[in-house]
């Protein structure tokens, strides 16, 4: 028996991110969109040599398999998305992260501007990212459900 990919449990209730993101949005986003990626990913790798592999391995070996790439990416991206948010969060980073942000972007405000620009200038569907590359912080965006660990890095 090979275990299929399952959605990680949300660390907070659907309504925990209000008023910034409402409960109904969270419910549909998690239980419909994210769940569909997981289901479709499992179907796409069933019976192939990708079955049983880690999601990271799958994402690095799916260039020629659109269904795996799209759904695997969607699965992984949303896992991270829910994790990096939470109620009683926000504010400003501290310590080493704050230092790294200042080193790479000058100020936290400028980082936020760059990140917002990456998000607003991505045409069509996609994601904005803050990544570590070669020990440095970089901001970029990807299309659809692609992500920087698929092999192209953060551009």
């Amino acid at each position: 028996y090979i275990m299929a990919f399952e959605l990680p449990k949300l660390a907070y209730a659907y309504d925990a991110l209000e008023p910034h993101i409402d409960a109904r949005t969270m419910e549909i986003h998690y239980s419909k969109h994210h769940q569909a990626y997981a289901t479709n990913l499992n179907n796409a790798i069933a019976g192939t040599d990708l079955e049983g592999k880690s999601i990271e391995y799958i994402l690095q070996n799916c260039k020629d398999k659109p269904a795996v790439r799209n759904n695997g990416g969607g699965f992984w991206n949303h896992n991270l998305f829910w994790e990096i948010m939470g109620p009683n969060a926000g504010g400003t980073p501290t310590g080493e992260l704050a230092q790294a942000i200042n080193d790479a972007f000058g100020t936290f405000e400028h980082f936020k501007d760059e990140f917002a620009k990456a998000g607003t200038t991505r045409f069509g569907s996609g994601w904005a990212w803050l990544c570590v590359e070669g020990g440095k912080l970089v901001v970029c965006s990807t299309a659809n459900q692609d992500n920087p660990i698929m092999g192209e890095g953060c551009k």
Binding site: G124, N144, Q145
Partner: protein, 193 residues
């Protein structure tokens, strides 16, 4: 003279219940006119402003100019592809559909599959090739048949902004309902027989 969005050929509530007045309001006033406004910004006092929208779409290199011009053009085509109540296609159109796809039913299934199965933002098109054969194509984001030497006949917008208010994630239901709005007369006007 600035570019503008096509005047809607029907009232904003005319496509209900398949596409709500609220969707038409947002889709036309915010999204469509937003692309047009950006296009006018990008072409202000530039030679591109003198081109027709179609010429601009055909000649623009990939990037914001193409994206906004193509989206302005695609949306014009989308509103015209629809009418408040679909009717039986003119005989020449029905015949062409039958000879290219086997039957109207098969055509609708193939088109729906392409529209529903397209990943991410984009458009599903019925096009006519230079050899007069009909083809179903789905393109990403702002990409359009004008860039591929194909004559557009009919289009369905599958960017989420086209269906999210009415159908949320259920694109399949949106596409099923969209058939109630197809303007076959417009398809005929675009075709070469």
């Amino acid at each position: 003279m600035a570019f503008s969005a096509v005047a809607l050929p029907y009232a904003k509530d005319a496509l209900a219940p398949f596409i709500s007045a609220e969707t038409v309001e947002f889709h036309y006033e915010k999204h469509h006119k937003g692309y047009v406004a950006k296009l006018n910004d990008l072409t202000k006092d530039k030679p591109e402003a003198k081109l027709s929208l179609e010429e601009l779409v055909k000649t623009a290199a990939p990037g914001p100019l193409f994206n906004n011009a193509a989206q302005a053009w695609n949306h014009n085509f989308y509103w015209l592809s629809m009418c408040p109540k679909t009717a039986a296609p003119p005989p020449e159109v029905a015949e062409a559909i039958k000879s290219n796809f086997g039957s109207m039913e098969e055509f609708k299934k193939k088109f729906s599959d392409a529209a529903i199965g397209h990943f991410g933002s984009g458009w599903c098109w019925l096009v006519q090739n230079p050899d007069k054969k009909l083809q179903i194509v789905a393109f990403h984001d702002a990409d359009t048949p004008l860039k591929h030497g194909q004559k557009p006949l009919l289009t369905c917008d599958v960017w989420e902004h086209a269906y999210y208010i009415d159908y949320r994630n259920r694109r399949m239901e949106y596409v099923e309902k969209w058939w109630n709005l197809v303007n076959w007369q417009f398809v005929k006007e675009n075709m070469q027989f």
